[in-house]
């Protein structure tokens, strides 16, 4: 029987299956952070349970940490308690932790791949919905709740039911100025935020294979915004080269063994998918979101929708509500939307290639005077690499702030947030109401588009600034 890549990983991790299909799935890699783990550790203590496989678990503080000078610790009392609690829990249960002042600290979904903790063919979970990021390596990676975090800590397994197979083919080439962020925004616009519910998505096609490892991570990262818990891509030589010699990658004879295994990780040619759609690269343009759901996308050449053109009442009400929240009039051209802030960073677009892409646009240019802009590298190592390449100088001389790594204004748990009615061009993943601060208005874009918006002071076409 032909199998999809998801079927194969699922089958290889099946510890036990009940008659009704409820299964116990082995977890190879568990990432934890300070926000969704304290109650899980508390639960372990209350029931006198231990962590089954501390060595398969890696912890980092990322959601709550300040992105400004850290030498004096964390000012916010509650944030400090959470970060300290993570440290104490890791110590008690023998889990490896990258503390706030470790140069390897960073966003959990950036450090996993960076350290080689993320590997093809594995099941990877984390109490964070953007765990789908790791699917770029051909792993089955998905977000879980805190009770499930506790379950994984105690048993190294998870109770699951098999999802459906959904394949999205993207063929052709990316036009100039178009990135993998635009591809995934276009996909979410097409399938909707619930389009992938109950499915695992496999991205395939010539355009997907042509993407770099980091670009693939951006696509898989936002899979959850299309409702699917996991998105994955068949691993290839680019992935293997990326992982070679990473600190936690397999070494010596184990590397050879792993490589032999990884090379077979692909969907069988005649594997059956429950759902399938296709896109052509040449149809994809630089995208922006206009509303309060990641499915609210238009091209930079487009206009904000008019609710009067909608027949479906739910959809009409939802557009009206979003427009009101966003402070936008129907039919406004995307390029006429003036912005106040620019945020470059997050697990979606906080890697070195993202920073290079933005810096390329910003070189020898300055931001518009009314715009406040910041870059938050995804990890300490990304920051270090960017500084070695002189990208920090480009950002600073164009008027950006150059910050310490963390989740920052993607979810605004720390001090980095929008004020009410402030409008932001952001490389993050969610434009929900209040996501970047109460009353804040988010437009999701690629790093190059964020840079273009900073220069112009309004949403703008990155292609205008490309040589």
């Amino acid at each position: 029987m032909p199998y999809t890549l998801y079927d194969k990983i699922w089958n290889e991790h099946l510890v036990y299956q009940q008659e009704d299909g409820t299964s116990l799935l082995f977890v190879d890699r568990h990432l934890i952070h300070e926000v969704t783990s304290p109650q899980a550790f508390e639960g372990l203590r209350n029931s006198n349970r231990n962590v089954r496989q501390p060595s398969l678990t890696l912890a980092v503080a990322d959601h709550n940490v300040p992105t400004t000078d850290r030498s004096k610790g964390i000012d916010d009392k509650e944030s400090k308690i959470q970060v300290d609690t993570l440290e104490a829990n890791c110590k008690q249960f023998g889990i490896k932790l990258f503390g706030m002042n470790d140069k390897r600290q960073g966003i959990v979904h950036i450090i996993g791949p960076e350290q080689g903790f993320t590997q093809p063919g594995t099941v990877i979970v984390c109490g964070d919905s953007h765990t789908a990021t790791h699917g770029a390596f051909g792993s089955l990676a998905f977000g879980i709740g805190t009770s499930e975090v506790e379950h994984v800590l105690a048993t190294q397994t998870l109770v699951q039911k098999k999802a459906k197979n959904f394949r999205i083919n993207v063929n052709g080439k990316l036009p100039l100025g178009v990135t993998s962020k635009d591809v995934i925004l276009q996909i979410i616009g097409k399938i909707g935020t619930a389009g992938g519910t109950g499915c695992v998505i496999e991205y395939s096609g010539s355009l997907i294979s042509s993407l770099s490892v980091e670009q693939r991570m951006t696509i898989c990262n936002m899979t959850i915004e299309g409702g699917a818990r996991a998105g994955l891509i068949e691993p290839d030589k680019k992935i293997f080269d990326y992982l070679k010699d990473k600190p936690m990658s397999p070494k010596k004879e184990n590397w050879e063994k792993a490589l032999n295994n990884w090379k077979n990780l692909k969907s069988d040619r005649d594997a059956k998918f429950d759902k399938e759609i296709s896109l052509e690269g040449k149809e994809i343009l630089p995208m922006v979101t206009w509303g309060t759901s990641p499915q609210d996308v238009i091209t930079i050449e487009g206009k904000v929708p008019n609710p009067n053109n909608e027949k479906d009442t739910d959809r009409k009400n939802s557009i009206e509500r979003s427009l009101k929240y966003m402070g936008l009039k129907p039919d406004t051209a995307a390029k006429d939307i003036k912005i106040d802030k620019v945020f470059i960073g997050s697990c979606t677009n906080g890697r070195i290639e993202d920073l290079r892409e933005a810096a390329k646009i910003l070189k020898n240019k300055t931001k518009a005077s009314h715009v406040e802009a910041m870059v938050v590298p995804g990890s300490g190592l990304v920051k270090q690499q960017a500084e070695q390449e002189g990208l920090d100088k480009i950002f600073i001389s164009s008027g950006f702030e150059w910050r310490e790594p963390g989740c920052s204004m993607c979810l605004a748990m720390n001090a980095d947030k929008l004020k009410p009615e402030e409008r932001c061009a952001s490389t993050s993943n969610r434009n929900f109401e209040g996501r970047q601060g109460r009353g804040g208005r988010t437009h999701l874009v690629s790093p190059g588009m964020a840079a273009a918006a900073a220069i112009s002071g309004n949403l703008d076409d990155v292609r205008k600034y490309q040589n």
């Binding site: 969704t36 919905s129 709740g145 009770s147 109770v159 619930a194 519910t197 409702g227 109401e433 996501r435």
Partner: protein
């Protein structure tokens, strides 16, 4: 976990679609290290104005809905982040049953870990039930029978049998999985032989 068997009450109806977990419980309340105490901040931005005063228009601020145990909502409820703080906040407010035409996967699963029953019903039935909310009339939910009774009507719903059993009996699924400890151990042993790199041996 507390059992869920049946429930009766006046439901609150929130017609908004795609209610995300940021809307259910915004990030400033995720800094807690406890599971309890989140109820007062449930739907914070819809419920309170900038000065912290209750917004009278919002349904959960009105009587009798401020005591509702059943919430009826628009489709794709609970999309976005994996935060279990969302079901914790619902539970702490007193809501133990949600009725919608669809849910985001992670939220849906998280409900079952906390004794909350998320029911999936077709839009048409949701509309009928929402009338009971408007008229402030009680409806009742029976998990064992998998039915909602409203007036002289009845709506059946589907639920995964294992999830149903866990809710009805209030089972601790970690304890259930630990009963399979031998199977996990032998899986790990095979894994060490077949894929030694997983353990970095």
């Amino acid at each position: 976990m507390k059992k869920f068997i049946s429930i009766k009450g006046i439901p609150a109806y929130l017609s908004i679609v795609n209610i995300d977990t940021d809307m259910i419980i915004p990030k400033q309340f995720l800094k807690t290290i406890k599971r309890t105490g989140l109820g007062k901040n449930l739907f914070f931005e819809l419920r309170y104005d900038d000065k912290g005063n209750k917004i009278e228009d919002f349904i959960l601020n009105q009587k009798p809905y401020d005591n509702s145990k059943i919430l009826i909502t628009g489709k794709n409820f609970g999309c976005g982040s994996s935060r279990e703080h969302a079901p914790w906040a619902l539970l702490d407010f007193g809501i133990t049953c949600v009725i919608s035409s669809s849910y985001a996967d992670i939220f849906y699963n998280n409900c079952f870990k906390n004794g909350i029953l998320p029911i999936i019903l077709e839009e048409e039935k949701i509309k009928e039930l929402s009338e009971y909310s408007h008229r402030k009339e009680e409806i009742s939910v029976d998990l064992n029978e998998q039915k909602i009774v409203y007036g002289n009507n009845e709506a059946k719903f589907d639920i995964d049998p294992f999830k149903k059993k866990c809710l009805l009996e209030g089972l601790d699924d970690i304890a259930l999985s630990l009963e399979k400890s031998d199977k996990i151990t032998s899986f790990e042993k095979n894994l060490k032989n077949n894929k030694p790199w997983i353990f970095n041996d």
